[in-house]
């Protein structure tokens, strides 16, 4: 008998596309920033009760820090650990900048950008296939996105600190639904003004294999 880590999924999320998948407890999810500085907007829901979901505020309060780094625990709105960051080759990630939307685009850039693709559209499109909707939109994580906060509270999405091939890896602490919007924004530096693909890899404990009398 033996158990080992198996690759359960290895996919490319095309530029601008949504992606969602179940991530079981003890499985890991690696997100690879293939071409560099591509924001991966990210939400988590508890698989068996999607009113329990990732909470940026609970996560920030628990670690007393606004930046997500290796070792950060991602908490739910009920105060339960959902996942932890077990590896990150990027120094830090954002969870205060939120997801772009048609509507916030009109405020940030002008009404001429209302028709652009957005992360809220991606999240809604993925979530509505599973019975979730706009009430399930909450403050998200932006992997690979850089949002510094200055002494006077000034903040903004600025040029990224990621690079081609860098990654972040999570370990699930409960059974989860992961929803990603591979950010399609073209009006700020979150994607270096050029949305590119992401790679997602799920690994988990391998199946118990039957003993067989091989030589």
């Amino acid at each position: 008998m033996s158990s080992r880590e198996e690759v359960l999924l290895d996919e490319i999320v095309p530029a601008r596309a949504p992606w969602d998948h179940v991530l079981r407890r003890r499985e890991t999810l690696r997100i690879v920033d293939l071409e560099g500085n591509q924001s991966a907007d990210f939400l988590l829901y508890a698989l068996h009760d999607d009113a329990e979901r990732y909470s940026a505020q609970d996560t920030i309060a628990a670690q007393r820090n606004v930046y997500l780094k290796t070792g950060s625990v991602l908490y739910s709105n009920e105060g339960n650990p959902m996942a932890r960051i077990v590896a990150s080759t990027v120094e830090r990630h954002d969870t205060i900048g939120g997801a772009c939307s048609c509507e916030s685009n009109t405020l940030r850039y002008g009404h001429h950008t209302k028709s652009h693709h957005s992360c809220v559209d991606n999240f809604l499109h993925a979530n509505t296939r599973h019975g979730r909707g706009k009430r399930d939109m909450v403050s998200n994580i932006n992997w690979f996105m850089n949002v510094p906060v200055e002494a006077d509270g000034a903040l903004g999405i600025v040029d990224g600190i990621s690079a081609p091939g860098l990654h972040v890896e999570l370990l699930a602490e409960m059974d989860l639904v992961v929803v990603i919007s591979n950010c399609p924004q073209i009006n700020n530096p979150c994607n270096a003004f050029n949305p590119t693909p992401l790679r997602v890899i799920i690994k988990g404990p391998g199946r118990i294999e039957a003993c067989s009398p091989r030589s």
Binding site: Q57, N65, G98, L107, G153
Partner: protein, 276 residues
Amino acid sequence: MSESSTRDPAGARAHARAMAGIRVEAMPTVPAVCAADRPAGVPAEAMLWEETLAAGGYASKILRRGARVRLLDVHGDACVSMLLFNAECPVERLNVADTVKVQWNAYLGAGRLLLSDMGRVLASILEDDTDGHDIFCGPSNEAANARKYGIGANWGAHPNARDRLLLGAARHGLGRKDIHPCINWFKPVRVAPDGATLLDAGPYAPGRALTLRAEMDLILILANCPHVLDPRPGYAVTAARVSAWRGPVTPEDDPVRNASPESLRAFLNVEEYFRR
């Protein structure tokens, strides 16, 4: 054993009615035109709401566009968590990420807007003599309060802000999925260069206040519980008073409306919403 005065309906009724007129600190003033703490310059007939929230208390109210809302830290240690919804279509609600991102700043104060997830301004901060607020840390929850106080459940002596907000929201047909990221008024949290959240829990001088202006018809939910990162071992929070009164809809020459291109577009989107 003496015979109880509440042994029959008439006795129970007399007992209940004898409570009339009792005044305690944490209660609403009904009708609000009789408000004891009417803000300066506000005529009695304009008053819409006066209510004092106990330590651990909560309340909710529907307010029309133009209404003013004053939050008062009565004794210097209030921590008022707030949810905001578009009363007409509550799936539109406060979005703290858009609020900080669109305004290019994470610290709330006079002149700042509270933005919805639909590119509109729900409320403006007209006045604010406090030391700042918290848009990062969210409400306490049952698990956090259980760790800190032993029992964190709503029915105990240390109710948590998330449950209080939930009970307020439930009064309007809303539920667990509607408890969106909140603002914590009166407890400033700043961000250090390394990202650390720095809470100044106080207590402060009594009587600090801020005034909001409703820019849309709102459902306002308030809960007054200790800040989730308050380092003090006790259930450290004191009463808060909320007062609301009628006011005019924001005119086109309003300085807050015109303070920045982003602000102007948020108001234009509201004005477009009400163009019907």
